[in-house]
Subunit: 290 residues, 2 copies
């Protein structure tokens, strides 16, 4: 099942889950596996940027992808090192010269004391003039991806309470990242793409999470033209997707889906009438909500 992946989940990695004992509804003792959640403080050169709550795998990809998706790292920034110090839950991304973001942060700090509020504005600014490629997407490929991803052994299936995001190419899932943190899984994919210099033009991003403004902005900033999810939409997510011409597909379960933006990329080569409804055992239960 995982043979086609470049990176697949590793539910057997003992560092990512913990066995915990408790009581079930009858008062009987039960043992269960729960996912780890650890702080990771990300520095850009000498600047402390954020403390993310993460499951803990691929910290280098997470740090790089976070900085890139927040508009803090640009293509012209030459990355000289990424140093992970697990004993102090810290990772430092260094660039050859100070980034524009650090420069802006210093100016901002002088006037108002903190630059947190600028981040979302910076992300939106990055969308100005963005053109996403007109790569066609077969609906048969979307169904195949959703089915294969749902059946791939994962931390979600082993322990729940975690989100998954998968970078795909046509009908092939390539890189499947999971994380407890809201957007960490997609940031880890961005970090992998940056490291591997992978082209976004022919890619599809599949996520288990909701299609919020932040998710849509991140996908567009990564240059990926198609975002699909089992979950639902927010109005602003739809609005931004339409503005940048991103194909947005949600509520994808079994034979069902809804496309609310960028429908011109779709090639309708699957007959939903021949597909089954989603089997109960493949539903993502509430354990993965949130």
């Amino acid at each position: 099942m995982t043979a086609r992946y470049l990176i697949a989940p590793d539910p057997e990695n003992a560092g990512l889950t913990r066995a915990v004992s408790g009581l079930d509804q009858s008062g009987r003792s039960v043992d269960l596996k729960v996912v780890e959640e650890r702080p990771l403080t990300i520095f850009l050169n000498a600047r402390e940027i954020v403390t993310a709550m993460t499951i803990g795998d691929y910290p280098e990809y997470l740090a790089l992808g976070f900085l890139k998706n927040q508009g803090m790292l640009h293509p012209e920034d030459e990355i000289t090192s990424v140093e992970y110090a697990p004993e102090i839950d810290t990772i430092v991304v260094r660039t050859r010269v100070e980034t524009d973001y650090e420069d802006k942060l210093r100016k901002k700090t002088r006037t108002s004391g903190c630059a947190v509020g600028t981040v979302f504005g910076d992300m939106l600014d990055g969308l100005q003039g963005l053109r996403l490629p007109e790569t066609p997407v077969r609906t048969s490929a979307l169904y195949k991806l959703a089915s294969e991803i749902n059946q791939t052994p994962s931390l979600y299936l082993a322990a729940g309470a975690i989100h998954g995001t998968v970078l795909c190419q046509a009908d092939r899932p390539l890189v499947y990242m999971e994380d407890v943190g809201r957007h960490n899984a997609v940031d880890k994919i961005a970090g992998w793409m940056l490291t591997e210099q992978a082209s976004p033009d022919d890619k599809i991003l599949y996520t288990t999470g909701r299609l919020t403004s932040e998710m849509v902005i991140k996908t567009a900033l990564m240059g990926i033209p198609v975002l699909a999810s089992r979950s639902g939409f927010t109005a602003w997510g739809v609005e931004i997707a339409r503005e940048v011409g991103l194909t947005l597909i949600g509520r994808m379960r079994g034979k069902r889906f809804v496309c609310l933006s960028g429908e011109a990329r779709l090639i309708w080569d699957a007959d939903p009438g021949t597909l089954p409804e989603e089997a109960t055992r493949h539903r993502r239960k509430g354990a993965g909500d949130d």
Copy 2:
């Protein structure tokens, strides 16, 4: 159904959802309701603190609850006004004198330029020496709450892609808040409690989201001794709940649940054998994931 609530969801409020047209899996035109998502920038006196993404209801409760749950507002801080300016998506909470947090922020800014990284540490510091009351909880009350909340008309049922958190007292749901933002629903409840001077001692918090470290810390800082969810756990969430003696119940669906901390508060007065499994129509579908 909503008669017992002090505040119930208002799915008919036209400002909270938007009608959007798209295509379904057969290429047929469909209209659906999606939830709104708006930025709200929160100021504490002259300090810009954060821009939250919110559905937009109860901005005053959200701002107050956020500041309190982040450890930025303390009981000794006298709140003089809360001014919401919808035309610029901004809300300002003013106190009679400058808060400790602003003072700390100014010192921190002088040295490292930004105080973002301190916030989580401040939240953890707030747990030192915390004692939660030993209020007993009947398992029959938990089942009754879960069933009543699942059947309450809500934005989730109308449009999906949203989280709910409900403040309860014994078997009665009191205040049911929903929001697109990860922790906004619980912050709105904290803001309501602060405004109404509601005692946390005899309360139960029910959430549709996962039991992460942040959710557990917020509940404990609010002084509420019991946190229950349909969703799953993270290891750190369980660890913190055990340290502060909070009753933590997860994976609560139909007759099932798991208690991983604070089981001494439970009174096992329900016979799960007589309860049905959760009906498919009451499952929270993926639309509410994330």
